[in-house]
Structures are given as structure tokens and as C-alpha cells.
Symmetry: C2
Subunit: 295 residues, 2 copies
Amino acid sequence: MAEPIFERLCLIGLGLIGSSIARVARERGDIARTLVACDHGVGVAARLRELDLADIVEVDAATAVRGCDGVILCTPVGSFAGIMEQIAPHLAPGAVLSDTGSTKGSVLRDVLPLLPEGVHLVPAHPMAGTEHSGPDAGFPTLFQGRYVILTPLPEAPPAAQEKIAELWRRAGAMLESMDPVTHDKVVAIVSHLPHLLAFTICSTADDLAQETREQVLKFAASGFRDFTRIASSDVDMWRDIFINNREALLEMLARFSEDAHALGRAVRWNETQFIEDRIRRGRKIRRSLIEIKQA
Amino acid sequence: MAEPIFERLCLIGLGLIGSSIARVARERGDIARTLVACDHGVGVAARLRELDLADIVEVDAATAVRGCDGVILCTPVGSFAGIMEQIAPHLAPGAVLSDTGSTKGSVLRDVLPLLPEGVHLVPAHPMAGTEHSGPDAGFPTLFQGRYVILTPLPEAPPAAQEKIAELWRRAGAMLESMDPVTHDKVVAIVSHLPHLLAFTICSTADDLAQETREQVLKFAASGFRDFTRIASSDVDMWRDIFINNREALLEMLARFSEDAHALGRAVRWNETQFIEDRIRRGRKIRRSLIEIKQA
């Protein structure tokens, strides 16, 4: 077995993502010699002990990070500033700090100003998930064959970047690097806007008159079913993502809205060529996805 | 084996839906004593003979319907008026005429004025489909456990309604009746609007700069993947659906658009309670679907 990447790795937040990292680390044994899991959720620490997901379970983040050469924030992105206030004075010199947040500009904004000298920040975003959340929802193969996007700072030492990259390689993920601004735009269109639309269509349906709503549910065709699958995700996580990727998300919503109204206008005025063109472009994107084996 | 429902049944349009009905009829033997399949698509008639999907294969609709006690239009809804002009003089007295269109107000508008006296119209909408189309895409279990909505005219004789109902029962479907206006509103929100949104988000992504678009495809998370699955449907069918359910679709798009912009505004102004409420309502609809076993 390879040498562990970290002597003592602390995961903060053991939800779907954090508990999946813990499961990979426990299963492989070569991620961390000692694994510390920290979560202050009601009953979560007890559950982590029952599941035997770490060597040490803590509820206090300041205590948890002491003496760790690796720390990964796996909580919703809106909590990062508050957690940094707690842990910054206790981070060990030379430690690598990473995260799994879905927005990366916000990490620079919230984490960087509080980063102690000698601690190296390597932000990461594993593009994996399910509609479930909490420490029981995780599983060790969650990241296999999925992309993890790193948005490293130019000043982060290569050795620190390599540790986080190697962690994700051992979890089975494919790595890409990107600057934070590009990252936030890409995820706004491929993930955040689709979720905003899915939450919205469910609300729109919910607002229909009672009789119609029952029939909406009864006859939910596959189209609507797929939307509700997207819409059944964690409340805190998605609130934080929307707020922390505000600019890119609102830009994509504006572009989308123009395009939706252009299609609506074409329907109103019977502009069949425009409608057909839009349908064909959907098919083209779909075919591209099949070609690169992402669908 | 039960007596066949029809002595001579003609299916017009052997795409996904029509060819699936043909397969059910061939497999069971108790749908029609003689099955006539009519399609003027290039090469479709030859393919229907190869697949042995009917007793008689025709390319001319006027010839195909002669002497039939049952005729079902399975083509895109925009073609119904033109087909009626061809077949109306040749429909046998006492015949039952049905269709499988996704919009029902348009059937009354396009079919009813040309209906010969003594021919009974029983519109139906099987809520089943896949992302594939054409005579090879059909399969005999397509309708099993799926809803078929009948929008019968008050003046249609019960015996005619019962024949169409029994056909769908034998195909394994669950039956519901609804007036055409309610039908068109329900399908606008559960199916037509989701497709319009899916086609649009693919177009929006396609319009992004070349570099970003490649990354959109590469990192398409599950959210976007579900949208592209919806968006990969038949061009003619969806163009016709949008145009023929114009009013209900544009009403639902307007409601949706108000709701999407309200959520966008909440993101802009950091109104966390509003955002959380919207996410929770999505989850509520999702749970309702799971309870009634539609998800």
C-alpha cells in the first residue's frame, strides 16, 4: 500500500460529500494515517461513531483541526467564513486547506483573507452528488469517473496542490484545473441554473389551483419527473450556492430568459423554422454529450 | 382469447407510438382481426413489411381507411387537418376515429369540422414516450402502467368510447377522462413547458463562447444531463405540440417566468427565506410524486 497522503486529515462537515470522502479514506487506508471527522449537526457525531467513519470524531472545529496537515471544508459554502474564524488560529503551519464547495469565487472572498501565513489553500469542486444528503447518504464510489475541478492559487506550492490532486485521484476522480471565474460561469449553466429552473417549475405547479395540481401530480410525465428529481436536493446547500454564485447565476438566468421568451414569441407567431432550429440545437448538445460519454 | 375489438383497424403514422400499438396488436391478437398500417414516410412502408407489423401496409391514407371500423391517427398533431381532408370521404359509417395527439383542443378544431355523419370521434392521449422515434423505436410494453387520457365528446356513443378504452386497457394502460381544456393545461405544465425549457437551456449553452461551450459539455453535471435527455426528442412532433397548445403553453411560460424572476430577484437581494421556501416546495412536489408512485 502507498504511503498515506496526509498524516492527520480533518474533514469538516460529514454530509453526502464529506462522508463519502471519509468512506474512501477508511476503505483505502492510504489517504490519511489518522482521520478526524468534525460535525456539529444534532446527533451527527454519534452517528459518525456508530458508522465508524473516522478515528476521531469532534464537534468543535477549532479542536478538530489542531495538528492536522490537511483540512477539507465539506459544509455548505455559506458557512466557510464562520468556520475560518474558528479554525484559522489553530491551523498548523504547512497545512493544506481545501474545500468541496460548488462556488469558487466565494472561497477566495471568504477564506483567503483569514488564511494564516504558511497554510496553503487549494480549492476543489467534486462534480458529483445525488439527491440525498447527510452522513448516511455517502458511499465510497461517489467520485469514481466524475470530474473534480481544482482552482488553485498561483502562489500555492506545487506539493500542496499535488496532495489534493492525489487525494481525488485515489478517490477515482478525473482532474481538471480552471480559474475561479471560469469555474463559476461553467457551473452556473451546467448545474446552478438547471436547479433554479427545476425549483421554479415545482413552485409554479404548486401554485396552480388545487384541482389542477392534483392532476399535475397524477399525470406527471417523464419531463416533469426529471425536473422534480433535480429539485429534491438539500435546502441549505442550494440556498448557499445561489447566493454565493449570484453574479454568474443571474447572468445565465438573464440569457436563458431572453432565449425562453424568444421561443415563446416564435410559438405565438407560428415561426416554425425558429422553433425547429431550437429543438435541433437541443438534440445537437445531447449528441455531443453522448459522444464524450457524459450522458 | 377474447374477440378482437375491431374487425379492421387502421393506424396512420407508424412512429414510436403507432408502431408500439401495432406491436401490442400483433402480440395479443385481440385488438384487431385485420391490422392496416399506413405511413408515407420515405422507406417506412418497406420497413413495416420487414418488421411484419401489420397485415396490410399502405402509403395512401384514403385507401388505407376504406372498410375499417377503427382508425387511429398517430402522426404529429399538425398533420391531422390535412389527413382528415384525405380520409373523411372514405371513412366507413359507424367507424370509430381516434388519435394519440398530445394536444386535444386542436383535435376538436382540426378534426371535428371534417367528421362525416355517423363516424364517432374519441380523442385519446397516451402519456408515454421515449427519446427515440420511428417504426424501429416502438415496443409492445410502452403503455404498460402509463396513463391514457380520453377527452370524449358528450355526443360520442358509449359503445364507441368503450372500444377505444378497451384497446388501451389491453395495452396495459390506466384510463382517465378529462375535458380538452383541462387536458391541455395539465400537459402544458407537466410536459410541454419542461420541454420548452429544456430546448432553451441547450440553446443558451450553445450560444456561449466556444471555449466555455466545450467546458459546458465536459462538465455537464447531472442537472444539465437530465435537461438534454428531455431535449433530444422528435423535431416535428414538438414543433406541432408547441404550436397546437399555444395558449396553455404561453400561459404556463408566463407564470413560470414570473416565478423564475422572483427567485432571481431573491438571489440578487439575498432574501434567504424566499429562496429556502422555493427549494422546499420543490421537495414537497417530489415527495408527493413518490407517494403516488409516479417518481
